[in-house]
Symmetry: none
Subunit: 213 residues, 4 copies
DNA sequence: AATGAATGAGGTTTCATTCAT
DNA sequence: CATGAATGAAACCTCATTCAT
């Protein structure tokens, strides 16, 4: 009567169902507006079971953020794994992987980029950790490129950090735009960003700087 | 000496106090977690007065978003007003105004950039309207620059839109980073972004494009 | 600006406006749902003035009931004033006056018949007083008729009271029905009731009683 | 000994308790003045459970009206079930059942006759449906009697409707009077009404009509 | 392993009523 | 005389969370 009952599933399976449901719910309604009732129903289990496995709404959200962050990081890390490749190719691979992920799992991306960062501690911290990791990776690439660019001036570490922030921000913004603009592929978004960013970085390193007046 | 408690103020004054309080509260806790109780207390009035003037939590948040969006737009618009100036100088002026605003009114910026966009309709739409306006302005500058760059290849409208998204995203990201990194000035953030972005755009127009492999 | 200001009217006039507004509001929304705000606005005055003159919502409602009850009683009393006329003609005149009043002032009738009786003390008591007066008058007529009917059996006082209740209830019900059935006149309603009631009473007095089995 | 507090009852039982409590509360205070807090307490449960099962105050009141209307209708219908009996005996049985119900469940009767009809849509409509059903049944009996009365004049359908309204109004009024007058039995009230009404109807059919002047 | 039954705590909203001019 | 400004109190409703089976 009612839903088909799938009883006695192993814990790991049940937990995955719950986290999947939670991702959807948190992405659509936000942390506060998402209700444990809806999540349990989406997951096809009763509420007490959610509590038995995930303990509280806060822990559930944290678990969601952690899992999704790991997934995104894994996808990107896998793409950029070749340490011998030149930095621009590694950046390209990473961007492609990132835009593909954002397009393929929009709820996951929404949770990471919007909900987690918007709803204070401890969620923001959890999300920041992942973002920092990506930013640090990007900063590494920029530093690498700057060291390879002979004859250029040195770039301070803070400059590198700032540039990485800018690049990551571009990617985040483009991901949102790509997701809501019909017909924009991950590849196209990545290409736009490479053109925009890498040339700018290149000039920077050749010390062709822009200055006011 | 100095009224400790100023009672019977005219409506306009009270409304401003309430909106100020609401900006703080929404920025710190988010739309849902902010309580009308706290907002009323921050504003130094009773809850019913907030409802008498602003009608509901939703309308209050909407009013906040509208007021803050207007304020940000006004500041930027004022900075870029000179239509005779070259596009890079106008962009520079706009960025400087923007980073200054974000640094000076971090709660306002948080509400616009995080809370409004994260909490669904009708708030997201209200915030999107403002962001679109800024993005359109940036796109205008990019288009202008592209037309001035002789010998370059044409840039499609979608390219321009994408680049504007990227640039705006960079600015948003840098604003957040500047606000939480001690010692970073608005001018510095703006300079980083100009170097990063404008040169990239310049190369783009000279059709020095990056392409994979 | 806004409403035309009619200032400095004599108190009696203002009070009448307020009571008129209150009758409408109480009839339409009921005692609780009617708001002092709406009543003040309907009356074209500010809320504090309502309180200055009528003191509280409860007193306002009481004043309304009293005024309307007086008005209805006055109308009926005026109709049945001729003490020399036979009881059936006096009843007829009273019914006609009553149905006419209910049709002409439906809000007043609603307040008296529904709202006052439904909302507990002290309102129910106030309305009961008026209803009792009418019922007593009807009982008087019945008693009179019964004494005139020679050869009949005596009717106990309680029978008379019960019959008066029945007759008054018929009238109340018919008034509601007449008001919501298009094309039914006060005269028609009164005629139906006379036919129904007076003959029944007549038979009763001739002791042609109905009994079960 | 004997569970002082019976916890974890099945839903159906709890729902009944809640409806019972609501009948009491609505009868005593009216729809608006009755508080969900009091109803929950009367029912011996917490407020959230009331909402879980009945959804809202409005739905609760509607459910109450429906249940009580069904109960009253059922009682009356059961009494008049014999279609072979002559109309006066069927009326007598129905009246007896009705007065008995009103005496035995005064809160239910108050809710149906006063509160539901006084508090606007959708409650009034719900109550009107039941009253219309009863009125239609009475009208049927009157029509039946009129057809049986040979030699009389035809009674128009509107006359029949009006007479039914009058008879039902009598019954309502007498029920209230009986309930608040000590020592009046249901049988007595029913007898008074039969004497009053049936003879009047009889005369009507013999066309012994009362007319003014 | 899984759930129907139940609630404490807190949120938004409304309204009669008063103060100070 | 008249009112704009202001509030205490209480209502409806929701939700994360737990108990008992």
């Amino acid at each position: 009567m009612g839903a088909v009952k799938a009883r006695r599933l192993p814990r790991a399976v049940r937990e995955r169902q719950m986290l999947d449901a939670a991702v959807r719910s948190f992405a659509r309604h936000g942390y506060q507006a998402a209700s444990m009732d809806e999540i349990a129903e989406l997951a096809g289990v009763s509420k007490p079971l959610v509590y038995l496995y995930l303990n509280s709404k806060e822990e559930l959200f944290t678990a969601v953020i952690r899992r999704e962050a790991q997934a995104l990081l894994a996808v990107v890390a896998e793409a950029v794994v070749d340490p011998g490749a030149p930095p621009d190719e590694r950046l390209w691979a990473g961007l492609l992987a990132f835009f593909t992920y954002a397009a393929e799992y929009p709820d996951s991306w929404t949770v990471l980029n919007r909900q987690a960062r918007t709803h204070g501690e401890p969620f923001a911290g959890e999300a920041a950790r992942m973002r920092d990791e990506i930013t640090a990776f990007v900063a590494g690439l920029i530093g690498e490129a700057s060291r390879e660019a002979r004859g250029g001036v040195a770039i301070t570490e803070r400059d590198v950090a700032a540039l990485a922030q800018a690049l990551v921000g571009s990617a985040e913004s483009l991901a949102g735009w790509a997701n809501e603009t019909p017909g924009v592929t991950a590849k196209e978004a990545a290409a736009t960003l490479m053109n925009f960013a890498w040339s700018g970085l290149g000039n920077l390193m050749k010390s062709e700087r822009w200055s006011p007046r």
